[in-house]
Amino acid sequence: MEIYLDNSATTKVYPEVAELVTKIMLEDYGNPSSVHMKGVEAEKYVTAATKSIANALKVQEKEIFYTSGGTESDNLALIGCALANKRAGNHIITTKIEHPAILNTVKFLESEGFEIDYLGVDEYGVISIDELKSLLKPETILVSIMHTNNEVGSVQPIKEAGDVIKAFNPNILFHVDAVQGFGKAEIFPKKMNVDLLSISGHKIHGPKGIGILYINEKVKIKPISYGGGQQKGLRNGTLNVPGIAGIGLAVSMITRDLKAERERLYELKKYFLTEAAKIDKIVINGCPRDEAGGFDVEKTAPHIMNISVMGVRSEVMLHALEDKGIFVSAGSACASHSKKESSTLKSMGADAERMDGALRISMSGFTAKEEIDTLLDALRELIPFYARFIRK
């Protein structure tokens, strides 16, 4: 038995996507830049994928660019925009709870002379629009805010932020890292005043090594790597045709039943949090309560839950669950290689014990209620045992 609840780290590829990717690798393996039949054949896949992605985002096809994944999309958006707009100013605003792909990129820009401000978050991991207003200034050229937080699943007020930014100065570029949010929430950049949007293939049951960057046609941006002039010279290199076709299909599949799937996941999340909160030693991170005292899950992402088991280090609980075939992660999977504590939880004001014991459980369209029940049973069984052995 294998219960995979680490879908914010990566997801299982849709069988249809795997089939398509395999077919392209083995049969339609041409280079879209080639003039002959094989090239034309390959190009058709790219055109079709771009069309379905543009439809899903309600943007123009020429505004879709392909990268190697979320990290590259974030890098290209931030560095490319900073370089192209540095005459207009040198101030960039982001948040304290971004993924390292953003945080380390703005750190680089800071070393290159840009000035960075970081928005804080409240106890539920949400930024304040008022603080954003107060940080905007004439030198501001770029704001980057994630849609859904990868560690706790908090959702940022993107539409409000976009309105505030554009009201202050319509020339300020607004980038959104939607790697965790896309496919779990309806995201239409043009309706949210978003100029650039990052998406990753492997978080939405597509292949690894492929990402999307939506760039509004009006955005001034420079390439960050150079080569054969593909993708209007902005993102050079032979197109990853299998990856592009794969992410195209994954996008159309995941957005097809989005509304119904969101509701189903919200129900599961509410059920899990309500039951988990009854287990001794568990505290819930990042989910506000409604007036009746229940979990107001709809203020958060439908698929990410974050809990802390007080007194038991997350690695221990993670491996104990793993022993039962249940896969979850500690804090953020991307950051867990470093010994650093979860920066999102820290920014939310959590104490050391809460950060030490934090577990992230992230669901997908494949997650069934029985699996959540198995996880709850495992927690009920394991926590009383492991809570006996604490570090003194």
């Binding site: 690695e315 221990v316 609980m317 993670l318 491996h319 104990a320 793993e322 022993d323 290689h337 010994k339 006996r388 052995f389 570090r391 003194k392």
Partner: protein
């Protein structure tokens, strides 16, 4: 250009009547090392040295790399091997050799010729003189220095002719398998792989035991230990790695004994278990990476208390080494990068903030009686359920 390697060994040359045992072991180890290289090699033993002759194509860097991992080798000389030819033709070959190996001729040299094949027209002395002359004629910048030359060019006339001048240092020590077998307590740290390497260098075959504590230590921590064993096995040959599930014992000690004595009592049980496996697998000693004063469990008092449970001798080759010196060796044997990967090992998970540094054996023994009810059974289970992984270089 080179087609043979002359293997020089120092220490095993002085072992009296047992010498052939050591030489045979070294030949065996060299055979094992050359088997891993592309190409075919023939080994021949002459008194005091071993020749590795390449038959056809081979990768020079690869064979040097493999040979420099064989304990017992003091030096490796890359050799040009020729069929026996007339002196005039030989001089030409030597001049070509010299020109290739030493682009800069502003050097001092001497010739050390040896005629073992008495049918050759010139004897050793004549060869020295004649070869020296020819070289000086060919390269006027060269100078002769008989007492302290920068280059010693050796020319040996046997059933073939061997020309060499460079010595690549080998690891030294004695061939693995000539000095019994030891059980290494291997953790994921910097010290224990170095300890194993050092003892193996004295001719011991090595097996290892690792204490795994899931879910407190991860599968990656175990993989790290396997990877370390792999690095060491590049020198020692295959290592039998015994993985003991130590969690239950550790938690039992945690619940029954004073917290500040946890580590020392735990270490005593590790030694007991390691010794059981050692006896079962015919090892004559235990090997640890302990070094005086490094941590609380390695004070002299703690070492004495840990040592008390063992009947077999415990070899602690790093006992008086500073950490820096251990790190230097671990870098040299390529275990350092793996050792510093950040996975927790079972010694640190419950470590007390203030562990005892001067444990009293009587008190420790008294507290160990708290474990009487279940501990023997638990040790037996740990031994019975151990996983044995045969770790080889590949």
């Amino acid at each position: 250009m080179f087609s043979s390697f002359l293997i020089k060994y120092a220490e095993i040359g002085i072992k009296g009547k047992n010498r052939y045992l050591f030489e045979d072991a070294l030949v065996r180890q060299i055979k094992y090392a050359t088997k891993k290289c592309s190409g075919e090699f023939t080994l021949s033993k002459t008194p005091g040295r071993i020749f590795v002759d390449a038959d056809g194509d081979f990768d020079y860097d690869e064979i040097i790399e493999k040979l420099s991992h064989v304990f017992g080798i003091w030096g490796i000389c890359p050799v040009v091997r020729l069929d026996v030819i007339e002196p005039e033709a030989l001089y030409k070959e030597i001049i070509t050799f010299f020109d290739k190996v030493y682009p800069d001729k502003n050097k001092t040299f001497k010739v050390a010729a040896r005629r073992a094949n008495k049918s050759y027209p010139l004897d050793s002395m004549e060869l020295n003189k004649k070869i020296g002359e020819e070289l000086l004629n060919a390269f006027p910048e060269l100078k002769v220095d008989i007492h302290d030359p920068e280059i010693t060019l050796t020319v040996e006339i046997r059933d073939r002719i061997y020309i060499y001048s460079e010595i690549i240092p080998g690891p030294g020590g004695m061939p693995v398998g000539t000095n019994g077998k030891g059980m290494l307590l291997l953790s994921g740290g910097i010290d224990s792989p170095v300890a194993g390497w050092m003892v193996a260098k004295r001719g011991l075959k090595i097996d290892a035991v690792y204490f795994h504590a899931p879910p407190y230590t991860s599968e990656r921590a175990k993989q790290k230990v396997v990877d370390l064993a792999k690095k060491v096995s590049a020198y020692t040959g295959p290592i039998y790695l015994h993985v003991i599930n130590f969690t239950d014992i550790q938690l039992y000690i945690y619940e029954k004994c004073p917290h500040d004595e946890l580590t020392i009592i735990m270490r005593r049980y590790m030694m007991r278990i390691a010794e059981e496996i050692a006896k079962e697998t015919e090892c004559q000693c235990l090997i640890t990476g302990e070094s005086i004063g490094q941590v609380a469990s390695q004070t002299t008092q703690s070492l004495a208390v840990t040592n008390e449970v063992c009947e077999l001798p415990v070899f602690r080759p790093l006992i008086a080494f500073d950490k820096e010196d251990i790190v230097t060796i671990s870098k040299k044997i390529d275990t350092y990068e793996t050792s510093i990967l950040p996975f927790e090992d079972c010694c640190t998970i419950f470590v007390a903030k203030h562990p005892v540094t001067k444990p009293n054996l009587g008190i420790i023994k008294k507290h160990e009686t708290n474990l009487e009810e279940k501990i023997d059974e638990m040790v037996k289970t740990a031994l019975d359920t151990r996983e044995t992984i045969i770790v080889t270089e590949e």
